[in-house]
């Protein structure tokens, strides 16, 4: 560091204020002083745990006994021979395939409606968004109560219609309760789409109107293309969120050690991971499962970006500087 400083000030008079001498270097040092908390946190709380999980995934650790053996990639091979792991992964894929488009579509529809000049739309927006701020545990408990066999509103409605009550919270119906729970929070998607809609220049839509475009035409030809980056963002975060979802745990026993008792229809990948860690104490295997999830998430994200490259329309280059 001092070498650089020497080189940079060959003719500087000694009496000049210290602050003015090597502005670049001083600024660089200050920059790193400011971002240090994040860098340290990132290394200690993200990079290191990921590395530790990888090391564990190469062992047969059970978390307690000191005798852990290095087993190479045996755990990863085991993943592909474990029917529970594979079926839970498939189920999680289906879960994402159902809930992500449903939430985005519902959110977009609501956003379009709430973007019209109607009375009290601020209040309507707030009320429709409200479920999205209910904490996950509160939301899951609420749905447990609605779909309770005897005291739940869902069966109350059914009996009012003269139908037989349904046992919702067990297989095979419990998965629909999960889907409903997720879609209930579509207000989050609505807010993001609404922000996207408000960013669309009015002139474009007005020009289309002058040219005689119908409402549907300007929606499909202008609004949707301009909104596509926002939708892509939601698809990616939605899929990442679904792959990590452990919401079924909250719908069932509500404890980590109870992960193994989640009904089969809701036995998602993360539930299986929790069951391996906290019931079976298979730390090595569970860590391999986590790395597998990490790889799947990366792959799916890249795939979505790749596939959407042709369909997503950016007004500004995505990597362009502000």
């Amino acid at each position: 560091m001092s070498v650089l400083t020497e080189v940079r000030r060959p003719a500087a008079p000694a009496a000049v204020d210290r602050r003015k001498k090597p502005p670049g270097l001083r600024k660089a040092r200050t920059f790193y002083l400011f971002v240090a908390p994040w860098i340290i946190g990132f290394v200690a709380l993200t990079v290191f745990p990921l590395g530790y999980a990888f090391w564990l995934s190469l062992t047969d650790s059970d978390g307690l006994s000191p005798r852990t053996h290095f087993v190479g990639f045996e755990n990863y091979v085991a993943i592909f021979h474990d029917p529970l792991t594979l079926s839970s992964l498939g189920r999680t894929g289906l879960f994402a395939l159902v809930t992500v488009p449903l939430s985005i579509f519902a959110g977009l529809l609501l956003a379009v409606m709430l973007n019209q000049p109607i009375k009290g739309r601020g209040l309507l927006r707030g009320l429709i968004y409200l479920p999205a701020v209910v904490p996950p545990v509160g939301a899951a408990l609420t749905f447990r109560l609605i779909f309770d066999r005897d005291a739940g509103a869902a069966n109350g409605v059914l009996s009012g219609l003269g139908a037989n009550p349904i046992t919702w919270l067990v297989d095979p119906n419990v998965r629909y309760v999960l889907y409903a729970l997720v879609v209930w929070g579509c207000g989050g998607s609505m807010i993001i789409s609404l922000a996207g809609l408000q960013d669309i220049p009015r002139e474009l839509l007005e020009a289309a109107q002058v040219d005689g475009a119908s409402y549907w035409q300007s929606f499909t030809r202008i609004t949707v293309p301009l909104l596509s980056p926002v939708i892509l963002f939601q698809v990616i975060t939605g899929v990442i969120g679904s792959l990590q979802s452990f919401a079924p745990l909250l719908l069932s026993s509500g404890s980590l050690s109870g992960a193994g008792t989640v009904p089969q229809g809701n036995y998602l990948y993360m539930i299986h991971v929790f069951a391996q860690y906290f019931s079976a104490s298979r730390f090595g295997y569970a860590s391999a499962m986590l790395w597998m999830l990490f790889a799947v998430i990366l792959l799916v994200t890249l795939l979505i970006i790749k596939v959407s490259a042709r369909t997503v329309f950016y007004t500004v280059e995505p990597e362009g500087k502000k």
Partner: protein, 273 residues
């Protein structure tokens, strides 16, 4: 747009509001039912004689007060530290230059996409090795590290402040720490408000973190609600579950209703642009 169209739209939206709020109404209705009413089928839509004692029962049945204190402690630790740390780091990214800054910023944005739960379990194992499980130190560590999303929010805000402010301060002999502390931070209260609300709701709502890191006595309300209220036969007492859940959810809903704009601003700027 015609009048009829506007009316039709309003009616559709009112119906949507009703559907969206009906679960919450059911929760409140259930929280006021007597055990006898809970046992009858079909269920009544609204209790004939609201039983407010459910609320006092819900508080005494589990360690409600203790769990609330724990929730508030954790929420306070993570909200204050995360906000301060994110503002500090965001200032660095907005106002200073250094070799490697661009790459670091890309890493920062990429971490927003990282699956949090994948790192959480191994983090738990590491803290267990350090004997820091069942303490609040993990929340101190997470708080100090800041949140990538909030760093991004602060960075966007600070980047928009005119350069003259900073230059004038430098001429007056103020260092960058002083500039951050005395000039930039006091101006950023809209972002601070958003940050406080978002981190508070996150900490209050978090389930896996406390479920993994804390034991029964030191755990938060979220965990206590998820597992509590079971009778001697191991069956859930649903009217108490509802009463507990109402009290657990209410602070967040009230916060939302009063600070709606801040909630929404946090989301609508969320890394789309």
């Amino acid at each position: 747009m015609t009048r009829t169209y506007r009316w039709a739209l309003s009616i559709v939206l009112l119906a949507v509001v009703l559907v969206m709020l009906s679960p919450i109404l059911w929760l409140v209705s259930t929280s006021l039912k007597s055990p006898a009413e809970m046992a009858s089928f079909p269920p009544s839509w609204w209790p004939s004689a609201p039983r407010f004692a459910n609320y006092t029962d819900a508080i005494s049945q589990v360690n409600f007060i203790g769990a609330t204190q724990n929730s508030l402690t954790i929420a306070f630790i993570s909200t204050s530290l995360t906000t301060l740390s994110s503002a500090w780091v965001g200032f660095g990214f907005a106002r200073l230059t250094a070799p490697g800054k661009k790459q670091l910023f890309v890493v920062l944005l990429a971490t927003m996409m990282l699956p949090g739960i994948v790192t959480l379990v191994p983090t738990y194992l590491i803290f267990a090795k350090l004997h820091m499980v069942n303490t609040y130190w993990p929340w101190v560590a997470w708080g100090l590290g800041g949140s990538a999303f909030l760093i991004f929010l602060f960075r966007q805000f600070f980047a928009g402040i005119p350069r003259e402010m900073e230059e004038a301060a430098i001429i007056d002999g103020c260092g960058y720490v002083g500039i951050f502390w005395r000039i930039f931070l006091p101006q950023s209260w809209p972002v601070i408000a958003a940050s406080v609300i978002l981190s508070f709701t996150h900490a209050w709502g978090d389930f896996v973190g406390p479920a993994m890191f804390l034991s029964q006595d030191s755990t938060t309300l979220a965990v206590a609600m998820a597992t509590g209220y079971v009778n001697d036969k191991g069956l859930p007492m649903n009217n108490l579950v509802a009463a507990g859940a109402v009290m657990y959810v209410l602070p967040v809903l009230v916060l939302f209703l009063f600070m709606q704009r801040r909630f929404v601003s946090g989301f609508s700027t969320s890394g789309i642009k």
